[in-house]
Subunit: 146 residues, 2 copies
């Protein structure tokens, strides 16, 4: 499981890198169904001028299109940073089977403000390639300050 | 203020009616900036097969496009039913100035699960044309059961 999780998280990290190169907060996501990646996305809030364009939101929409159905009960989301309450709320509606994330977001993560927001059946795994996810985030905010 | 709120809520109700006619959960929204409606939307989760296609989410995206900026600090959202945590999370990111809603959603509304999710500067007014909003919702769920 860990090896598999790291494989898919690396794919999410590639997406985060794309966001970084566009001067977006570097967060990437993939959604996996039956061991197949059915959605890849990265944060585009600046590019699209839209606060709802988080990686997870786009991934949910793309996965729903790929599956032809709005419930993601057989899917796993891999995302480099802990989802915010908006994205966690969306993941609850989608009834996603499992969420795997990299680094915790101590300020904006769902666990701080909305710990009971997810669907009761959703399993969560954290700290998968957290160091790599955190490195990109730190680099982004450091570059921004300079 | 009440008269103005009722005027814009009627516009949101027209959107909710459109959702009803498409067999969608009948929720409608408009976003107003400087007394001008810059976004109109209704719930399209079934039509688009996408749990993120709530009226409010679409309205935020449309308003951001109309304004050319992702912050809605000068905008008022009118929505016929209390926003869910996902939508409230999105409205927090957008730093919306004010939210006016019709009927409370006792089961899925943000106040139950995530009472502190909104931006601290966002003002909230509830129960504007609540009866009309509730009538549409009740009719929808009654028709669905029959």
């Amino acid at each position: 499981m860990l090896q598999e999780d790291e494989y898919y998280m690396k794919q999410a990290l590639l997406e985060a890198q794309k966001a970084f190169e566009k001067a977006e907060v570097p967060i990437g996501a993939v959604i996996v169904s039956d061991k197949r990646i059915i959605a890849r996305s990265h944060n585009l809030t600046e590019t699209l001028n839209d606060t709802t364009a988080h990686a997870e939101m786009q991934a949910i929409t793309a996965a729903s299109i790929a599956l032809g159905g709005k419930y993601l009960t057989n899917c796993v989301l891999y995302v480099t940073v802990e989802p915010c309450p908006m994205c966690a709320g969306a993941l609850a509606w989608a009834q996603i089977k499992r969420i795997v994330y990299g680094i915790k977001d101590e300020k904006r993560g769902y666990h701080k403000i909305t710990p009971f927001i997810l669907h009761p059946k959703t399993k969560v795994t954290s700290k998968i390639l957290a160091e790599e996810s955190g490195f990109l985030m730190k680099k982004f905010f450091k570059d921004k300050r300079n």
